[in-house]
Amino acid sequence: MADAAIATTTAATPAHGRYGSMSRDRRWALRWSYFFLVLFACFFLMPPLYMFITSLKSSAEISAATNPWWVYSPTLSNYIELLSQNQYLTFFRNSAIVSVFVVIITMVISVIAAFALARMKFWGSAALATGVFLTYLIPDTLLFIPLFKMFAWVNDTFGIQLMNHWWTLMILYPTLTVPFATWIMIGYFASIPKELDEAALIDGATWMQTLTKIFIPVALPGIIAATIFTFTVAWAQFLYPLAFTTSTSELVLPVGIVTTLIKGDVFNWGQIMTGALLGAAPPLIIYAFLMDYYIAGLTAGATKG
């Protein structure tokens, strides 16, 4: 009996039972991956979906105790009202101009700075590169008080009032974006073989020509990654515009929506959601177009080749 039982067990155990099976391991890994990916996707897509649903409801329907995940009488009135208000368009314009210029200013400064720090070996370049990164670690909530003092000093000394102007944000945001963009670009430039700039140097290129004709084209994925990052930060920045701008005509989108659509304790939920949704569109469009480059930029230098 015992012998027979052993024989049966041995025969019934397929080879991969003892050693494990690669295809079965992979199937399980995939199942778990899908499970968590779907879970996270649901979790993160819930708020935008909720915004979208709410933006299609009238104020009456929002305040009525109906199913919040269903629209019983869809309406575009929120969109029409918001887009026909001049101030919303002003916020949008302010945000767009500020973001575009912040991107331009940041990229010009950080690409040149990163090139110098990564390539033109000079005394203290390594310490400076670390210093650039350390400035990024300082929270912006700590920065705006000294910035207030600086603006007051500028006003006292030169008579230039920097407070409460949307264009002031173009000076402010780079304090957040330049260190990080520079850090990304230093990493990217460092991954370019040294022989490439030596070859350019021998070919007769100046440092500036090496940067514009060799480094920028080769590091384009990194530059695009830094651009997207900068644009996102500039577009979504809330604290600085809240602190430094007050007049309605000077506000940018995130602050504008909050300050004009919340009156006292009255929340105009339909328009808030519509405004936030429309405000989220530009970064989304930019991501969609540059996604491939963005991922290539983030993973650059991970492997050789």
């Binding site: 070859a199 021998i202 007769g204 060799i214 080769v218």
Partner: protein, 366 residues
């Protein structure tokens, strides 16, 4: 005229001396190869000629002008790098014309030069490809093309063949030699491969620990090495070194390798070696091809001896045999049909007319 002159050139990195004061005269149209083990300062020397490294001391002159402080672009040189250093976003044509464009050379002149160089290197059909679409050998050609179109005073090659597989390396070696025969530009070539050095060079510069050991034609270095380092570095398999001492025997000299084995020194060397009799620290240098199987006819200065063979390596056209004398392993090259067998005693023949006597204390060949 594009001779290159190095006078007492020194390179110091922090406190480390990479190059310790070297003198070198490279004549116009000459093909010079700097060879040596890694860390010997050969690449540093090349990079100093290129202007990619500042020199700590001494003078470098190209075409008679001292260029110590001249930036690379104004030295009129072209360099080929080990990893090719092609601009990845430009096609072959743009890669080759980049330098000329920066110099504002007229367009038709650029076109003429690029096409001519492409023809020399046989890469005409690759001109509109990007570097990533090319094989290693093709990239190497493009890198050379980029150097040729500039028509510089000096070509500098920094281990250009190290990234290629063995077969392609031999092929490109011939290619480089052909190109040099066509364009006749003064060339400085760095390699750690002594075969590459021997086959390419008009003159080879052997470097070791930041100093030049010896400069000479490939044959000079091979047959008359000045130091033990050169003797051991040039030639493959390497020269055999066997500790020995000289003794006087009936008016002639004998080189004694062990208690049981001693060979008479050739008569024409007796005067040269006489003062070293009885000295310690002497080493006999004998190349593997001067230890052969025994043959019926014996030449002067050849001597037979019996030895136990440790290892046999058949190479096809010859067989390498390894054996031990007084603790030192030696190598001989015998006829494949000589019947060499590991673990058996074999009669070998040493040809002392090609012997070298080395003072192991100073490293000089006596």
């Amino acid at each position: 005229m594009a001779q290159v002159t190095l006078r007492k050139v020194i390179k110091k990195y922090d406190e480390v001396l990479a190059v310790r004061g070297i003198d070198l005269d490279i004549t116009d149209k000459e093909f010079i190869v700097l060879v040596g083990p890694s860390g010997c300062g050969k690449s540093t020397t090349l990079r100093m000629i290129a202007g990619l490294e500042e020199i700590t001391g001494g003078d470098i002159a190209i075409g008679g002008d001292v260029v110590n402080d001249v930036p690379p672009k104004d030295r009129d040189i072209a360099m080929v790098f080990q990893n090719y250093a092609l601009y990845p976003h430009m096609n072959v044509y743009e890669n080759m014309s980049f330098g000329l464009k920066l110099k504002r050379t007229p367009k038709d002149e650029i076109d003429r030069r690029v096409k001519q160089a492409a023809q020399i290197l046989d890469i005409t059909e690759l001109l509109d490809r990007k570097p990533k679409q090319l094989s290693g050998g093709q990239r190497q050609r493009v890198a050379m093309g980029r150097a040729i179109v500039r028509d510089p005073k000096v070509f500098l090659f920094d281990e250009p063949l190290s990234n290629l597989d063995a077969k392609l390396r031999v092929q490109m070696r011939t290619e480089i030699k052909k190109v040099h025969q066509k364009v006749r530009t003064t060339t400085v070539y760095v390699t750690h491969d002594q075969v590459e050095a021997m086959t390419l060079a008009d003159r080879v510069v052997v470097m070791n620990a930041g100093l030049i050991e010896q400069v000479g034609s490939p044959n000079d270095l091979y047959h008359s090495p000045a130091t033990k380092f050169v003797a051991g570095f040039i030639g493959s398999p390497a020269m055999n070194f066997e500790p020995c001492h000289l003794e006087q025997a009936a008016g002639a000299l004998r080189v004694r390798l062990s208690d049981t084995l001693a060979f008479p020194v050739p008569a024409d060397r007796t005067a040269r070696y006489a003062s070293h009799v009885g000295k310690a620290n002497l080493v006999l240098g004998l190349r593997p091809e001067h230890i052969i199987e025994t043959r019926p006819h014996i030449e002067p200065n050849q001597h037979d001896f019996d030895t136990m063979i440790d290892v046999v390596e058949p190479m096809g056209m010859e067989t390498l045999v390894y054996f031990t004398i007084a603790g030192a392993e030696l190598c001989g090259r015998v006829n494949p049909n000589a019947g060499a067998t590991a673990g058996k005693v074999m009669k070998l023949r040493a040809d002392l007319s090609n012997m070298h006597l080395i003072d192991d204390g100073t490293g000089r060949v006596l």
